[in-house]
Assembly symmetry: C2
Homo-oligomer: 380 residues x 2
């Protein structure tokens, strides 16, 4: 194998596929990046067997030559060193040469690395996915959907299915749901399907996969194609393939958990609410549960308080933009509310309470496609 | 005590004095910030008994009222919460009120914190320093001197005296020296003294103190006054006092360690040398000692190499701007060289070797006030 490649493109692709690589894998060849040079260009692959990422650097792009192939071939190089090395090479192009004994030489200007390669024959094949049921959506929308749900997944392995985000499609509407059983985030979005009848309901994507995917996607409006099979999901962007294993098991039915009535309803300024709860958390984070108390006031406003006996007490008054319904005193995990407020993308939010001991719903006022559900905390 | 204070000035002063506070202190009152309100303004103090910082917020500055004192007094408030609270308060001014039982109320807009205070009578007094021998230098020069020496102090406590930087003054020249016994950094600077006869030689300032001092100094050309006593040093800036304990013991005589002749001398481009060693370190950092090898070449250039058998080898050629003297092969800790190159502030550097087993000197070519010394590493 022998080729010359444009450094910046090589660096970016190496960084993308490195996201899939774990140094704690039990399969030695998976600590490496597979490099395949063909007459079309150079393909890089990284995988931890849960996530696999393939990045392609074409020979030419926008009338610029990115790769010059002298001899086709393939090699696997240890990822830990490779990403740093490529980034620090001095010149605009890098020459890559593999000799018979897998030793690989990288040359750039007055710098030369000789690296011990691994046998590319040992590298596992990527999943073979039939492209039957495809749907697509713009990259920036996909990034938002991920950001607005994945934070709510469970981080403990007691119920593994909750470490993933549930995706379902019905009538060309994608619904994404994440919950750790104390809070739930739900997001709807219209998608384009290649057949109007595409529908599925129990697709659960590991939160870790979605976080890694979000890191390598650019904030553009280019389409991403998505293909779901029994145990895999594939995201296809420009010159990049992202495969993730799906989680086994049945995702809990969350639809019935969401109350459809309200006893107390308040509309609040998102920024004021965020800042008041953040200040309340300054004292309660040091206790155990980030517990914050909310109380409706006679003047139609609300009061947020938090107490840590050794330190002190904080009291915050917030004006309600709208207020209706019964008086209420309720306590909740303030950090969960802040997490949701950060992704809600609306200057005003509406909170619908159904009593001090029942879950409550927070929604943006400016759009309909998102909902957050929270369990209260018992404080007595 | 009761006063109203301009929030941004309060925040900055709280952040400054917090730098001195350690949460692991055995003296409970030192986990707090002391606040003293007098008719002149508000004084904040933080201390871990090694370092003490005092920040003063005057009543007025530049025709702007910063503090309105209603009732003089003092209190100590837990630093851990206080800095965050003050930073997050919503309005431009903060009202601070202490009631009889040490409870302190902070009010700002619709936000109110009630904090349990500590008794200010228990707070230790700051060292009483006689201002006899004063010297001064501009703040930005002081910051540079610290940056260019403190990185070389020892981080292990086997020889405590080496965890500090040695300061000495002779003929109005300050010489600062730091060494961890493998490398040494030395910096000279002219200072102004209030008496031409001011001289001292065994003042050793803890590296930690200098690092904290550097964080709170602005990059201005305002004068800093410095006063040295037997066991304390005091830095006096505008509205800020920084006290540090000095280290006990005799600093080693470093002057004789520096060779004054050279067998091989090379002049190199700082950036090219830095990048070549950084690339060489990519492979050797994973071994133990960051060992990098340097070899003079027949063509008058030098070659930098590094080998890690499991991973591979890197070879870097660097053009010499000047080369004179004997052939040489030498190995050294590349990370130590990088640390020095980062502070050397010169586009070209000269390295004077005195043989493969002897210490060598690296100097900036553009100025005379700095010198770095390194021990070679035996590789056989």
């Amino acid at each position: 194998m022998k080729f010359t490649i444009h450094r910046d493109h090589f660096v970016q692709s190496v960084q993308h596929v490195s996201k899939a690589i774990s140094l704690r894998t039990t399969i030695p060849v998976l600590t490496g990046i597979k490099i395949l040079a063909t007459s079309e260009g150079v393909t890089l692959t990284g995988s931890d067997s849960d996530i696999s990422i393939e990045a392609f650097i074409p020979k030419d792009e926008d009338d610029q030559q990115l790769v010059e192939i002298v001899e086709e071939g393939s090699i696997v190089l240890q990822a830990r060193f490779f990403a740093d090395i490529v980034k620090k090479l001095p010149e605009e192009t890098i020459e890559v040469i593999v000799t018979d004994n897998l030793t690989t030489t990288l040359k750039s200007g007055s710098s030369e690395f000789n690296l011990n390669g691994l046998d590319p024959e040992e590298y596992p094949r990527l999943p073979d996915i039939e492209e039957e049921n495809i749907f697509k959506l713009p990259t920036d929308l996909l990034k938002n959907i991920i950001r607005q749900t994945v934070f709510a997944v469970s981080t403990v392995e007691t119920r593994p299915i909750l470490t993933g985000v549930n995706w379902m499609i019905e009538d060309s509407t994608l619904t994404c749901t994440a919950t750790d059983s104390h809070r739930l985030a739900m997001r709807h979005a219209k998608v384009e399907t290649n057949s109007g009848e595409l529908s599925f309901s129990n697709v659960v994507i590991p939160g870790k996969s979605l976080n890694e995917l979000n890191k390598i996607l650019d904030d553009t409006n280019q389409w991403i194609e998505i293909i779901v099979t029994d145990n895999q999901i594939l995201f296809k962007g420009k010159n990049i393939l992202f495969f993730s294993r799906l989680l086994d098991g049945n995702y809990p039915a969350t639809k019935n958990m969401i109350p459809n009535h309200s006893k107390t309803s308040v509309t609040l300024d998102t920024k004021k609410l965020t800042q008041a709860i953040e200040r309340a958390l300054l004292l309660s984070r040091d206790g155990k549960n980030n517990v914050v108390n909310l109380k409706t006031m006679a003047d139609g406003n609300i009061e947020i308080t938090s107490v840590t006996p050794e330190v002190g007490k904080v009291t915050e008054d917030i004006d309600c933009i709208n207020y209706s319904g019964e008086e209420l005193r309720i306590s909740f995990n303030g950090k969960n509310i802040i997490d949701a407020l950060k992704v809600i993308d609306s200057t005003e939010v509406q909170i619908d309470f159904t009593g001090a001991m029942s879950p409550f719903v927070m929604k943006p006022l400016e759009h309909e496609y998102m909902l957050h559900l929270f369990s209260p905390v018992r404080t007595y």
